[in-house]
Structure formats: structure tokens, C-alpha cells
Symmetry: C2
Subunit: 225 residues, 2 copies
């Protein structure tokens, strides 16, 4: 399965600004991208980057600099347009007849495991969707050229409606890991609790820890300095 991974390195993850500065957000975004690309490949997928411009990863941000960077040598498509038209252009290859299915997996699914992605790739339906928390579409598989994405607003509901309007079947993939896109400070707890890749290592290295504090939902804590 070819798997499109949209990613932008231009001021990424702005909603993490309360806890990470711009350079940190960029490094953390690359750590998550590498985790996603690794998991896609381990699930048997063939990752391809969809980027708005040249990719310039921070030179020194690999957790273990003996690692090969999984971003090296990945196929990449450069498309300057916003996410929705860029993904739809990528999906148009389905109409050419040489590709029977394509997946789109967001680059901030830091909890994605090969097992969770294999469930997505193996799900049925003309369209298979892994919903994100709050009604987003974190990952999907498309098997029909009549389907188009629209990531604005409540995209999970919109994607179901777009599929229904085109007479296409939809399978939903029930995965906590794929539902967790890392956008806001509260999401970092999930990475610390359930992640075991570069993203979790990066956060720990940056001083983040789980703060139980007696609350029924836990927060992250980062000591000053």
C-alpha cells in the first residue's frame, strides 16, 4: 500500500507554542514524522512524503545519531497548495488505473504502531477512516477515484457524507493510537504514556514527564530551566 504522509516544516504545531518554542516544535514535528514513517514501513506500507517545499530537517536532531534517518531517500511530492487540494491531487492517481488504493496518514500520529496501521490498511470499504479525537480524519485508505477529501472542520463526518454521496462504503477503524493526533499540550501525556519511539524520547530529553498530581487525568510537567 502506498501511503501519503503530508508534512510541513513551516512553523509546525503552533498549538504547542505554550510549552515548546518554534525550534523545539520543529524538532518534535520531525521526530513524530520519523516515527510515523517507521511505523508505516513496518506495517508493510510504502511511505511517500507530501510537502509544500523542500524538506530541511534539523541536522542534529536524531535521538541516536548512529541511526539512519528514515526520511532519506523517501519519495516526495512537492505541492504548495493547502492540505485538502494537495491530498486530492495525490489521490487523483487512483483515476489513472495504475494504483488501486492509497492511504493518507497524518505526520503527527506519534502513537501509531505497525499493528494499528495494519488494521487500517486491512480494513474494508471503498474508504476506511481512522477518526481523530474531535471529529478529524487522522488516517484513511481510499480505493475509489470518486472520493475526495475535505479536511476543513469536522472532516470525519464530512468524509462519511462525501463517501455516501458518491455511493461508496465506509469502514471506520477503532484505534486509540490512530485517534491521537498530537496538537495540544494535553496530547503530550499520551506520547509519554504510550509512545516508545523518537517522539517520546525527544519529549523526555526535553524534560517532560507525566505529572500524576492526584488528578483523574494527568498532565505533563516540565521543570523550569
Amino acid at each position: 500500500m502506498r501511503v501519503i504522509v503530508p508534512f510541513t516544516a513551516r512553523d509546525p504545531k503552533t498549538r504547542l507554542a505554550p510549552v515548546l518554542d518554534a525550534d523545539e516544535r520543529r524538532r518534535f514535528a520531525f521526530a513524530m514524522l520519523r516515527d510515523v514513517v517507521d511505523a508505516v514501513a513496518a506495517a508493510g506500507g510504502t511511505p511517500e512524503l507530501l510537502v509544500p517545499g523542500p524538506l530541511a530537517p534539523p541536522a542534529d536532531d536524531l535521538v541516536d545519531d548512529s541511526d539512519a534517518d528514515p526520511l532519506d531517500d523517501l519519495p516526495r511530492t512537492v505541492d504548495e497548495r493547502p492540505l485538502t487540494p494537495a491530498v486530492n491531487a495525490a489521490l487523483s492517481r487512483l483515476g489513472d488505473g495504475d494504483v488501486g488504493e492509497l492511504a493518507v496518514v497524518m505526520a503527527d500520529l506519534a502513537l501509531a504502531t505497525p499493528e494499528a496501521l495494519a488494521r487500517l490498511f486491512g480494513a474494508g470499504g471503498d474508504v476506511a477512516i481512522a477518526p481523530g479525537r474531535g471529529g478529524g480524519t487522522n488516517a484513511l485508505v481510499v480505493r475509489d477515484p470518486d472520493f475526495r477529501v475535505d479536511y476543513h472542520g469536522t472532516s470525519y463526518r464530512d468524509h462519511r457524507r462525501i463517501a455516501a454521496d458518491a455511493g461508496l462504503s465506509v469502514d471506520a477503524v477503532d484505534s486509540m493510537r490512530l485517534s491521537t493526533d498530537v496538537d495540544e499540550p494535553d496530547d503530550l501525556v499520551e506520547v509519554l504514556l504510550h509512545g516508545d519511539g523518537r517522539s517520546a524520547a525527544w519529549l523526555r530529553e526535553a524534560g517532560f514527564a507525566v505529572d500524576t498530581g492526584g488528578e483523574s487525568r494527568v498532565a505533563v510537567r516540565r521543570p523550569d530551566g
Copy 2:
């Protein structure tokens, strides 16, 4: 599989107070409980209530009053203690030898489906855990009398440690539906987007709707009056 469903009708769901008054929170809590009990039974489980006192559901809160109330005739254990000791007392039946496994499923998993619960019941391990968002333990299956729960704090991590200390294997169940316990106003969006039972119907009847508003994560909206 016998499935313990802890529930309290004493001022439930206090963190929903910003959007629901005390009577509404009680009615909504019962709607969620009924959804969970229905889903457990449809998944092949045998639900049993664990309550701190007599259960007195609002007389008029069934969405369709021709429905039979699934709470009628359910086995129930009354235990006045807090959640952790009450659940541990219930789990002590595993040591008696007449029960080989027990599940504990929280009463506020309004998105639980028979399919998601069947994955939990069918998971392997001496202990199978469906983690909640923020490090909680929303549902688990216990097959060894040496395991004890501790719901305080980051219970998912604590439960893994308790199991490891007792030499028990743990299987984690990756389910967005089981990870969504409905505690806070933001959680209501998930019920509206993914629920199709009494809880979602109750919220719609109470005037809640999904408010897309152009945000990347959506909120709930409840018109005044």
C-alpha cells in the same frame, strides 16, 4: 464473561457541571450506563452493577418509554467503599476458583460498541487493559487472583506495574471507543459524532449539537433556553 460495571448515582459527572445541571448530569449518567449495559450484553457479556447504595433511576428518563429498562433485573452488588476497594472486593471472587475471569467496564463509556467490547473480552494476557485518554483504565479483564486495581492517578501505568510485579502478562486493547470516558464538556462532541444510543439521543434532546465553527477540533454548542 461476567462484567462488573461500577456506577454511582450520587452527584455523578461533576466535571460536566459547566454545561449540565445536577439533575441533567444524573439523567445523562443513567443514559450512558444503559448504553454500556446494552453493549456489554450484546458483546456476550453478563453485566453486573457495582453500586454504593440503592439505585433509583429517574422515573421518566427513558428516551423511548416503551423500551424495557436494561437496568431492571440486573444483578447488583452494593458496596459503600470507594471505587478501588469495591472493585478489588469484587475481583476477589477470582480467588474462589469458581470464576476464571472477570471484566470491569466503566459506566461512562458512551461510545462502547459490542465490537469494541468483544475485542476486549477476546484479548489475551493475564490482564487485558483498554486505556483511557490521560492514562486512566477504562475497561479491563482480569484472569488472575493476584491482580489488584488502583484507580487513583495514572492507573494505566500503575496497573501495568502491578501486573509486572505479580509476574502477570498484560495485553493492551487499542480502541478509540473504549478510550473515551465521558467526563468533561469536550468529551460530549465524541458522543454526538460517534454515538448512536441513548446517550447521544439524550444530548441531542437536551439541545447539544456539534459546532464546527472552523476550528480544527470541534466543540459542542447548546443554544440558550
